[in-house]
């Protein structure tokens, strides 16, 4: 099972280039770890949310933690962004109160979940293409 640590606020740099290439924004996946990972005291709101994807290998979600590259250099801090602000209000509330969302992304996961991947993936935006995620995990 994968857990994705997601940045929960906007860092802003006064230099617009450094802001784009370096600053973390709300919804940027920061790191991906396995199910058994325990997070540090500050890896919580207001700085971070956790998106849990039970029974999904970490390797399958690492792509969401890479920078957007153009012409061999970093163009944006993260290629992918989770559109937190357009999630259903009850999911946003869950993130604010519980600090996490559990997403069912495989039929083999039968325990409690907050969303299905078929819905969640529509909030995963590829900032390079402007398109949302269409792939299953």
């Amino acid at each position: 099972m994968a857990q994705v640590l997601v940045f929960a606020r906007n860092n802003i740099h006064s230099d617009p280039i450094k802001d784009r290439t370096g600053s973390y924004k709300k919804g940027y996946p920061v790191v991906a770890k396995e199910d058994s990972w325990t997070w540090g005291a500050l890896e919580v709101a207001p700085d971070f949310y956790i998106v849990k994807l039970p029974k999904i290998p970490v390797a399958d979600v690492l792509k969401y933690t890479v920078s957007e590259i153009k012409d061999g250099i970093i163009y944006r801090r993260r290629q992918w962004r989770i559109k937190i602000e357009t999630l259903p209000i009850d999911k946003q509330t869950l993130l604010e109160t519980k600090g996490e969302l559990i997403v069912k992304a495989t039929p083999t996961y039968l325990d409690k979940s907050d969303m299905d991947w078929k819905d969640m993936k529509t909030y995963f935006l590829d900032q390079a293409s402007g398109l949302t995620e269409t792939n299953d995990l």
Binding site: N11, K18, G22, K33
Partner: protein, 379 residues
Amino acid sequence: MATEVEHIIDPDNGAGTDYTSASAWEAAQQRDLTSADEIAVGTGQCTGATEDTTVLSIAGWTTDATRYIKLWTDPSGGYRHSGKLSSGNVYRFNVTHLSNYQQVIDVNEDFVRLIGLQIHTQSSAILGNYGIRLNSTVADGAEIFVEQCVIKATLAGTSTGSYGLLTAWVGSGTRSLKMSNCVVYDVNRSTDAVYGIANDGGWVIYCYNVVVHNCYNGIYGGSGAMRAKNCIAQDCDGACYASTFHADSTNNCSDDGTQPGASGQNGEVVFLDEGNDDFHLDRSDTVALGNGTDLSGDADYPISVDIDNTTRTSWDIGADFFTMAAGTFYEMWELGQDDRTFYTEAGVDSAMSEASLGAEKIKVYATTLNTKEQIYSDT
């Protein structure tokens, strides 16, 4: 004076942990340190032997010479390497790269200090694999420190374009790297596009008391702006030292005659345990021991300790300042021989008897940590 704001990074999430990866620390803490008048300190710990396997990019900050980013291990904290690649409760990066042009630590900010870190960079069939890269986005006037670090590469398949540490090409300027008391090794893939330490151009580099071992190319000076002092580069398939170095380079050592500058040594350094990648100096070495130059008063980058944070009271070449174990040892020199043999008290009497029977001419010294006394001579 700026305020140090420290956070604990421990992948094992032990007591007191703020972040479980350097990457999360960097994301949460990135800010304008100059207006906050702060130094951002990430202190690596490791309470359960778990490695930090997440690549770290340092970007999106505002820094200056007195308000900078520092990622380190506290030498008194118990979580730093022992001067060689270490396991167990040692804070360390271990990253296997899965895509081209990745680095374990990518520095994009101007004032950063990486101290006491262990970095293992691994790849197979990957182009451009870096332990540490100082990026071309770093501005003129920048000052980056890399000190007391151990950097190892494991390259397989068709990995090429790999570096232990690379300063990316910037053409010209006054960006400086101050690197000391580090070990960089195994950046080797039997091709010529891999380097232990490389100045791709435009950086001013002070490379002091560094060991580079088993890298295809050892240390690449790049247009003469690298000042190498007291460095060892050895067992490199290409050149131990390549390109040009600044005229201030001095007291360097190689085994292929390429060492730059004055007072160089050409020979095989005897390390404590080279086969197991322990590049501390062995007491029997004659190439590096005592052949360094005193850098405690260096005009550009004074240093005074070694990779183990031991104060240097004399100057050896390489990352280690040799210190003897407690007690007395006996060294026997035979007339006409360039090397000495060491004995404990139990062994020296029989060695001397054997020498007299064989009519060798010898001198024997009793040596301790601080003294050396000739106790016998028939030369």
